[in-house]
């Protein structure tokens, strides 16, 4: 369970999030819906412990994230969350396999275990033949799948995905969304995804609309209507 309680985030005088109160259930596919610059990435960064709130609390699995020490935050990032960046952000100088194994390197996982885990995941996600390639040598969809594998490498129970389908064509976008949905259904991982991709809201079990610093959850009975309007409007 992820809870934002009276959460406010400001950059200087600029108000980004204003007293947000939301709950994201376990194994949910939560979509943060909003225009560019509406604060979606900030919400993900706050849940990921990359930024501190100006006011309010963030409680993830009964842990108050904003009260964790730097060491505890590192441990939280290693064990509880996997983050997927916009535009499949992979380290361009490292091969796909090395990119995937980065969380294992930072957490001190022995090399043999890293390789074994990476091979199993790569096979499962169908990118075995791309493992020795550099990020620039693979397609956008393959790079995005590598990012997903990297995000789940240490077995987190939350994935924070920042517009993962941005710049992907419809077929690759569908592969990525299907993959995230499978992770949610089979492994019980909570997906929190910021997007303005109309395809994404089909997968959503919870939708949060962010506009002018205010976060509103779309009631479950209106999700279907929102899906239709989203598909019609695009954002």
């Amino acid at each position: 369970m992820i809870r934002l309680i009276n959460l406010t985030k400001k950059y200087g005088d600029k108000l980004i999030i204003n007293k947000a109160n939301i709950s994201i259930s376990d194994a949910s596919f939560a979509v943060l819906w909003g225009k560019s610059g509406s604060g979606k990435t900030t919400v993900l960064n706050l849940i990921g412990g990359l930024e501190k709130p100006t006011e309010g609390e963030i409680v993830v699995n009964k842990k108050n994230i904003d009260k964790l020490s730097e060491k505890e935050l590192v441990q939280y990032r290693r064990e509880s969350v996997g983050i997927i960046f916009q535009d499949a952000y992979l380290q361009p100088q490292l091969s796909i396999s090395d990119n995937i194994m980065l969380p294992g390197i930072f957490s001190g996982l022995p090399r043999e275990k890293r390789i074994k885990r990476m091979s199993i995941l790569a096979e499962k996600f169908g990118i075995t033949s791309e493992l020795n390639s550099l990020p620039k040598e693979v397609s956008g969809g393959q790079a995005e799948r590598a990012c997903i594998i990297r995000a789940i490498f240490l077995g987190p129970n939350i994935i924070l995905a920042d517009e993962p389908t941005n710049n992907l064509d419809d077929s690759n976008s569908k592969i990525v969304l299907d993959t995230l949905d499978i992770l949610r259904k089979q492994m019980g991982i909570t997906i929190v995804m910021s997007t303005h991709d109309k395809n994404a809201i089909r997968y959503a079990t919870q939708i949060f609309n962010i506009s002018e610093g205010v976060i509103n959850e779309i009631p479950s009975e209106k999700i279907a209507t929102f899906r239709n309007s989203g598909e019609n409007n695009g954002s």
Partner: protein
């Protein structure tokens, strides 16, 4: 509490087990990620550092050649005329310690071209330079209970110690200021470059953090990068210095040969190759390596989470 303690122990173990190989690999990616900046900073600093190294090489080289001529001229012996104002006893004891051979001093025989400002009581002859310099430097006043000011020593016939002192003076006058200027300049260049690279890598820092890297691990990656940079700088600047010293040798060959032949007419002729290594080379290398952490510390504030977050917001 128990659970927290176990978790923090696990954290410490994991911190320590992040392999050196992986760290080096990650720091090495910085070189390819910032190739043009890295190459230009390596070349610039190498050129700067090669100046003091070349001076040290040429100075040591010319000292070595001069000593060879001088040693040949005097059958490798060093002649020190000396007088202790309070008696001959200390002279004998010190000469014995440094294995010098005492002979009586004959003014009309030895004082041909040097006018001494004291009346020597004896002449001590040494076969070994280190022992002669030990005797000459008078650092054993406590051991022999004498007043160094009353102990007069002058080198005659040979000029091995004269050469040593002359080059020591040159080193102090020339190399020291050049080293100081070179190291300050190169540290600043490295610090500015690193600060620029770090500011460009804000997104990468965030990526590493989201993947579970600690601040310490990120700092270590960039510290290894700057060490790698400085290792390249030392190799390249040494190679450049050897080349420059060879060029100087070639230019000065005839000049130096005739000068030495005139000064030491009885010596064999040695090729005046002006490359030599004395304590200055490891000193310059050591100081250059030490300036790596200095450069790093100059931009350590760039790693602060606040600065990174602000830069990301600015992007």
């Amino acid at each position: 509490m128990k659970f927290r303690a176990r978790r923090s122990l696990l954290f410490v173990i994991q911190e320590k087990t992040m392999g050196v190989r992986e760290l080096v690999k990650l720091s090495h990616t910085n070189i390819s990620a910032h190739r043009s900046k890295t190459i230009s900073v390596i070349l610039t600093i190498s050129i700067i550092i090669c100046i003091p190294i070349t001076i040290a090489f040429v100075n040591a080289g010319s000292q070595n050649v001069t000593i060879k001529y001088s040693d040949d001229e005097n059958n490798d012996q060093i002649y020190l005329a000396c007088l202790y104002e309070d008696g001959q006893d200390v002279v004998i004891k010190r000469a014995d310690k440094y294995r010098g051979k005492i002979v009586s001093y004959k003014k009309e025989r030895y004082e041909t071209n040097k006018h001494l400002n004291f009346e020597p009581s004896s002449l001590v002859i040494f076969d070994n330079f280190d022992e002669a310099i030990g005797f000459y430097l008078k650092n054993d006043e406590d051991e022999f209970k004498y007043n160094p000011k009353k102990f007069h020593i002058a080198e005659i016939i040979s000029d091995r110690i004269g050469i040593y002192e002359e080059y020591k003076k040159r080193d102090a006058e020339l190399i020291r200021p050049v080293i100081i200027i070179s190291l300050i300049t190169s540290s600043l260049i490295a610090a500015f470059t690193l600060a620029h690279i770090i500011s460009q890598d804000s997104k990468l820092f965030t990526l590493y953090k989201t993947l579970g890297a600690t601040n310490g691990q990120i700092v270590l990656i960039y510290f290894l990068y700057i060490l790698e940079l400085y290792a390249c700088i030392i190799i390249i600047s040494t190679a450049l210095s050897v080349l420059l010293s060879l060029m100087i040798s070639a230019i000065e060959w005839n000049n130096m040969s005739s000068m030495l032949s005139n000064a030491y007419p009885n010596s064999d002729k040695y090729p005046p190759i002006l490359i030599g290594v004395n304590y200055w080379y490891p000193t310059i290398v050591g100081l250059t390596l030490l300036s790596a952490p200095v450069s790093f510390l100059l931009c350590i504030d760039q790693f602060s989470s606040k600065k990174i977050a602000l830069r990301l917001k600015g992007e």
